[in-house]
């Protein structure tokens, strides 16, 4: 303390107090600056930062509508929406995707295909911060494990989504088609606003045709989200309007009967209610499970379907174009009578071939030894080619095309079938236009028995046969029956009135139909083999469509490779005098129509007219499902 005595403590204290005063002033200035800073941020720039803060947390989210359901004529659900829990990833929130997928794999089962599909979807065009599904159909146990681990998996969400489900996927594949994820191609043709929030869109079949009605209208909600994008609060909501439910004319039981009748053969069956044009069944075999397409089919499975020689993705019923063969003979007969080319009493001798006048060109009858003397009636029942060769030659291509065109050949017949092909109704004008070649008499001859350039689809054959069944009245085939349960389809799908086919007299029509009845019931009818046990009158016509021409040479069916065999055709309606159902059957490479196609048609008409086996009704019809083990799969 030696210095202490020398110190001027008063002066030191004064010095300190001056410095303290400076410090206080400095403190006040700095506090002033800080308060000024907050004044700037909170008062002057308040609006700016409020906007930033709100933009942080407030988002407008689209609320996708629920897709409309599809029922068959008995109210059986054919297309429904099932909640599916899926694991989704928001790529924007993930820094190392490979590591994350590795971690997820430790928790839930993720197959390599899932990862492949996931990466594919990630590369596709999508909305920013939109979750991309990695695994669908999580089990309860997987959901529980994910819930526990979610905090360590940023960007991973569990999402409950309504996913389209087809309880009868394989049975309805070519009718309903399927929905699938909206891809870039779809994105170009849809209204982006209307589809905000929607993940699936109708790709084929009725799902595509009625996309607009099934989709519904998008809703919106203003939500508050946290920094990780999770919705904390819904502030405002405008509900979406669900899509409209569709009821079809289709009877899923008939569909099943037809499919089973075709078995594992490639072919098609179309059944129409002639009174309304309502499609009762529309089958193309083989089918495929449409459910696989909904959430995205993996490359391998898709390639297998695409490259299968059986072409399961090909809709034979509406897009398969085959020479109609002899199935057009009844219509040719009417055309011949109406055009006075032939009369009912005229007798043509059938030696087994037809030779063009003033030419050496010979056209063979399918029956080598011929049918002898035949009337028009006989020609239908026995399916005499010779008779129709002669008639066709005499009628000429233009007139034939005119008469047959009135039944619907050569044009799209249906109202709401996706991508129906029109087939080809050849004519001299058509040949000049398309092939730039003259029409030869031989073209007429071939056309007269539904060969040559003539092409038709099973659906078109059913439609044209339905005109016969209706004695000239035309009801275009259609699927839609009711909207939203009880609103007649006419509101959405107006009846298109097609003028009735007005040719020949009423007796001409009955004459032809009687002949068609004898095709089935007559002792010499080409389809007589299906008549035993028939308890109703059925009118039909067999047909064989050539795949491979052997230029007039006789050939042995067994020696021709299976794929080279003729397609078997059969068209029919029953009961003949007051038809309730029209059926067309195609069996690819089935050989003769009488042997393979006609029995299929009979099974279909039998079921429709005599009733379905109980087991089918139990499986399909609601209300009786509980008696069954739920094999049909659909849960209401």
């Amino acid at each position: 303390m030696s210095w202490g005595t020398l110190r001027n403590t008063g002066q030191e204290r004064e010095l300190f107090q001056r410095r303290s005063f400076v410090a206080v002033i400095a403190v006040l200035i700095v506090i002033g600056v800080l308060i000024g800073r907050f004044y700037y941020l909170q008062v002057i720039e308040h609006e700016t930062y409020s906007t930033i803060s709100d933009r942080n947390r407030l988002q407008v989210q689209p609320v996708p509508p629920t897709r409309g359901l599809i029922y068959d004529r008995n109210g059986v659900l054919l297309a429904e929406n099932r909640p599916v829990f899926s694991l989704t990833v928001i790529p924007e929130q993930v820094s190392d995707m490979d590591a994350l997928i590795g971690e997820i794999r430790d928790i839930v089962d993720v197959r390599p295909e899932d990862v492949e599909n996931f990466r594919q979807r990630m590369d596709e065009r999508r909305r920013p911060f939109e979750p991309v599904p990695l695994r669908y159909h999580l089990t309860e146990a997987e959901m529980a494990r994910l819930a526990v681990n979610r905090h360590s998996l940023p960007g991973v969400e569990m999402e409950a989504r309504l996913v389209r489900y087809y309880p009868y996927g394989r049975l309805t594949s070519h009718v309903l088609g399927y929905v699938g994820r909206i891809n870039e191609q779809d994105a170009r043709r849809i209204d982006q606003v209307a589809y905000a929030g929607t993940h699936y869109i109708g790709k084929t079949g009725l799902e595509r045709v009625y996309e607009e009605e099934l989709h519904g209208e998008v809703g919106y909600q203003n939500v508050e989200t946290n920094a990780r994008g999770r919705v904390m609060r819904v502030l405002e909501r405008e509900d979406p309007s669900p899509g409209r439910d569709l009821t079809l004319s289709l009877d899923i039981r008939l569909q099943q009967v037809a499919q089973e009748a075709l078995g594992d053969r490639r072919g098609a069956v179309v059944a129409i209610n002639p009174e309304t044009g309502g499609l009762l069944a529309q089958v193309s075999t083989p089918g495929f499970d449409t459910n696989k397409f909904v959430t995205g089919i993996d490359h391998k499975s898709y390639a297998a379907l695409r490259d299968s020689p059986d072409k399961p993705l090909f809709n034979r019923a509406t897009r398969g174009q085959y020479p109609p063969g002899s199935t057009i003979k009844p219509m040719m007969a009417l055309a011949g009578l109406a055009s006075d080319t032939v009369t009912k009493s005229e007798i043509v001798h059938d030696p087994g071939y037809y030779q063009l006048p003033n030419s050496s060109q010979v056209f063979r009858n399918w029956k080598r030894q011929g049918h002898g003397d035949t009337t028009l009636y006989d020609a239908i029942v026995l399916s005499s080619d010779t008779y129709f060769y002669k008639m066709a030659y005499e009628m000429g291509g233009s007139r034939m095309a005119d008469y047959l065109g009135r039944f619907g050949f050569g044009s799209v017949t249906s109202l709401d079938v996706r991508d129906e092909r029109s087939g080809i109704l050849p004519s001299p004008e058509w040949k000049r236009r398309v092939h730039d070649a003259p029409w030869y008499p031989g073209d007429s001859v071939n056309m007269g028995i539904g060969q040559g350039y003539f092409l038709s689809t099973p659906l078109q054959l059913a439609a044209t046969t339905s005109v016969l069944a209706n004695r000239g009245e035309r009801h275009p085939p259609r699927h839609l029956r009711y909207i939203d349960g009880n609103i007649p389809a006419q509101h959405l799908l107006p009846d298109i009135v097609r003028p009735p086919v007005d040719m020949g007299s009423e007796s001409d029509w009955e004459y032809v139909i009687n002949a068609m009845e004898d095709v089935v019931h007559g002792s010499e009818g080409t389809a007589r083999r299906i008549s035993p046990g028939l308890n109703y009158r059925m009118a039909g016509k067999t047909g064989t469509s050539q795949v491979f021409s052997l230029d007039g040479e006789e050939y042995d069916e067994d020696e021709v490779a299976e794929r080279m065999r003729d397609h078997a055709l059969f068209v029919a309606f029953a009961p003949a005098d007051d038809p309730e159902i029209v059926v067309s059957v195609l069996v690819e490479n089935g050989g003769s129509g009488s042997a393979t196609a006609a029995p299929v048609a009979r099974q279909v008409t039998d079921a429709w007219i005599n009733g379905f086996p109980d087991v089918l009704t139990r499986q399909a019809l609601p209300g009786s499902m509980e008696s069954d083990g739920g094999t049909a799969g659909g849960q209401p």
Binding site: Q17, S20, A23, I31, I35, L41, T48, S53, A227
Partner: protein, 381 residues
């Protein structure tokens, strides 16, 4: 002297009680205590909203405050002479601890800051040096005639720079700057000439490029760059500043209301209960709330400087004045950081941010201040 003291008590046993009631008997300064309690109380209210766990975090913080108040009470009882006597030893112990940290310290995020000695709880020696340095510099300068001459000034600078360098080596630039500032604050109060102050400010400015090139780590440089242009990486390094400013600005004049802050409750604001708690306060209580808190801080500093001015020994004046200024610097650094005026450095808001070490150290400092004030009269006679 001792005899006089005893005689005084004997003559007037009610002396202390009459002068300031029971608080004075506990050697507590009522004004300072009131202001500190207001700040900490307000802090708990904000913390309830900022923390996600509701009362749990508030209880935890209240417990730390309780511990801190006990420490403060203890430090207030000690005679300032005692601090003076212990200053060099405390300082020496701190230096040894800092060296030990560098040799054996436990670290986090690439820095060694913690020291775990057997038998003692884990602690940061650098935190203790926030008090150790002003103690030492005050002890040193108080033995001299003030204002100090050049040689003592240089020695005081060395006393300040030594722990500063040790802390930079950890590395913990933020704390080092504050520790060095605490030594400089004492020098300033001791009467460092304005000429030298200008010189040091100039030298400090000139050393910035040196710091930038040789001392600062990449993450520190990044923080500075981010401050200058937060938009450059809005989701990365600029996130904290952007979200903090959005929280403050959107609070407006009156704030969104207690518990209504969307920025913090929706997790947009990082570190909302620790370093960035002021942004929560600003969002929910608005400009009015911020001004109220800053005013409380200013009053604490002013009251502390008043206590320093009223102190009777040179040591007490320098120590308490230094503690007051360093407290204010903590406030400024945090507030400037949160409002985007300074780079993001990990400095909590004094007495408000969640966390124990900081509160206990600060309240210990205020305990010393109160000791200086309440032991005054006994020394005077």
């Amino acid at each position: 002297m001792r005899q006089e003291f005893v005689r005084q008590i004997a003559m007037d046993p009610d002396y202390l009680q009459r002068r300031g009631g029971w608080l004075s008997r506990l050697h507590l300064d009522p004004w300072l205590l009131l202001l500190l309690m207001l700040i900490m109380g307000f802090g708990l209210v904000v913390l309830y909203s900022a923390g996600e766990n509701g009362m749990a975090i508030v209880r935890s913080q209240a417990l730390r405050i309780g511990v801190g108040l006990l420490v403060m009470l203890f430090f207030a009882q000690l005679d300032p002479m005692l601090y003076r006597r212990w200053s060099p030893w405390l300082y020496l112990a701190g230096i040894v601890a800092l060296v030990l940290v560098l040799l054996f310290g436990a670290g986090a995020q690439g820095a060694q800051r913690w020291l775990a000695l057997p038998g003692l709880p884990r602690f940061q020696p650098s935190e203790a040096m926030k008090i150790g340095v002003p103690l030492m510099v005050a002890w040193f300068l108080s033995q001299l005639v003030l204002p100090p001459r050049l040689l003592p000034i240089l020695m005081a600078l060395v006393l300040t720079a030594l722990p500063g360098a040790l802390i930079i080596a950890q590395p913990d630039l933020g704390t080092a700057v504050l520790v060095i500032a605490s030594g400089l604050a004492v020098l300033f109060l001791a009467g460092l000439s304005w000429k030298l102050i200008m010189l040091m400010v100039t030298a400090g400015g000139a050393s910035i490029p040196v710091l930038w090139l040789f001392v600062m780590r990449d993450y520190q440089k990044e923080r500075v760059l981010t401050l200058l242009n937060p938009g450059s990486d809005p989701l990365g390094a600029g996130w904290n500043i952007t979200q903090s400013k959005a929280a403050i600005g959107s609070g407006g004049l009156h704030g969104k209301g207690w518990g209504e802050g969307t920025q913090s409750h929706l997790d947009f604001l990082p570190e909302s209960h620790t370093d960035f708690i002021l942004a929560v306060l600003a969002e929910e209580f608005g400009f009015i709330g911020v001004t109220f808190l800053l005013a409380l801080y200013a009053l604490v500093v002013v009251r502390s400087l008043f206590i320093a001015s009223a102190a009777q020994t040179s040591f007490s004046r320098l120590l308490s004045g230094g503690l007051a200024i360093i407290f204010f610097m903590y406030v400024v650094v945090n507030v400037a950081m949160v409002s985007g005026l300074m780079p993001v450095v990990g400095v909590p808001l004094p007495l408000v941010s969640f966390g124990g070490t900081s509160i206990v150290t600060l309240l210990a400092g205020f305990g010393i201040l109160m000791a200086v004030h309440t032991h005054r009269r006994m020394l005077e006679s």
